[in-house]
């Protein structure tokens, strides 16, 4: 068998010399090159542009979507900010109104207090004036009455004896009693 193998190998060797696989056939080079160039033309003309078109469209679609989302987000942000501003304004307004009301209330209370004081002063003044007037009136009428009384008393005293201390005191007592009785 070994011999056979050697023989076979030798046979192969002889064939190999004719069929050196390392020597390219010109026909194969030409066919290979032509086919590759044809395939290159077809791929470059029909396949690659299609893929690139799909990519470009996809990129645009994604970018468009992102942009839309971004603008929506910005819109929402703006709306939120606006609402927050409105809310803040409203709070501020409410605080201002409260403050104003408090001030007004205080003012009203102060005014009323002042009015009341003025009124009280006026009433007091009025009372004082009235009292003064009445006192004046009383003094006047008293003065007239006292004059009359003094005159009548003096007349009585003079009519009786003015020497007798006991009598005079009796007269005065009687006079006073009369006075009280008259009243």
């Amino acid at each position: 068998m070994f011999k056979t193998l050697v023989l076979a190998a030798a046979e192969e060797k002889a064939k190999e010399d004719e069929l050196n696989p390392l020597v390219p056939h010109l026909a194969e080079i030409i066919i290979g090159a032509v086919v590759v160039l044809l395939l290159l033309w077809l791929i470059a003309k029909f396949v690659v542009p299609n893929f690139e078109k799909a990519y470009a469209e996809r990129t645009t679609a994604i970018e468009g979507g992102l942009q839309a989302a971004e603008s929506k987000q910005a819109e929402a942000d703006a709306k939120l900010a606006e609402l927050e501003k409105q809310l803040g304004d409203a709070r501020h307004e409410a605080a201002r109104i409260r403050e104003e009301a408090r001030e007004q209330g205080a003012q009203i209370v102060a005014e009323l207090r002042e009015q009341a004081q003025v009124e009280a002063a006026r009433i007091v003044e009025h009372g004082k004036t009235q009292i003064e007037a009445e006192r004046q009136q009383a003094v006047t009428s008293l003065r007239a009455e006292v004059g009359t009384l003094a005159t009548s008393l003096a007349g009585r005293i003079v009519g009786e004896s003015l020497d007798d201390d006991e009598r005079s005191s009796r007269v005065v007592d009687r006079f006073l009693a009369e006075l009280e009785g008259a009243n």
Binding site: T4, N20, P21, E28, G32, V47, F51, A54
Partner: protein
Amino acid sequence: MRSLTAVPASSDTFHAPGPADFDLPGIFGSEVTKPMVLVVLSAVIAFGLFYAMSRKAAVVPGRLQFAGEYVYDFVRNSIARDTIGSHDYMRFVPLLFTIFLFVLVNNFFGVIPLIQFPTMSHIGYTTALALITWLVYNTVGVLKHGFFGYLKHQTVPSGITGPILIALVPLEFFSNIIVRPFTLALRLFATMFAGHLLLILFSLGGEFLLLHFEPRILGIGSGLFSFLMAIGVSFLDMLVMFLQAYVFTLLTAMYIGSAIAEEH
């Protein structure tokens, strides 16, 4: 070894598969060979499939378009943009995508039932691809830097001066201008060739062991094992098929990227 000699030498001697198995005769006696048909078929498949996938160009991709975009994205972003840079890469995406699809489909012909022949195991096709890559990266480099500017760009490493350049410039020229297309063509060819040869070896060898080997017990056992190996090698080969398509495309992108780079 003694038992091996018992193999009848006449009808059933096992011929180990070799390069001759890759030299397929023309179909119907014409000059057109199977790889020639396959290479055209691969272009039809690659274009038909990806045109169908990309035709709708929908914003929300369907299942088919999603699959197509997955492959296209892989070449466009992971290979082209990351290697060439986001400024210039778009110009080269069609070329890189074409190379990737072309190599991938032709490689996978090696495991597709009824086809079962990786076109790239014929060095002529890898040579064609390598030539195109070589022409493209040198052309864009010359267009960008001017002829002598490009030569300087490719052969004089930045930051190096003095007599060391006498040794470096020829080396750089050799490696960047001359060797690249050969390594590109050879790497792809050799991996596909070797993978397919292994597959043939394990399947033909398994068949021989199973049907003709004496003693029968040993022959059947090792034959079945050989078929198992063929299945294992098929899966390994599929990984290699994808990797080689990736590597070829990536290297093309790297060569283009370094040719049009501003600095080294």
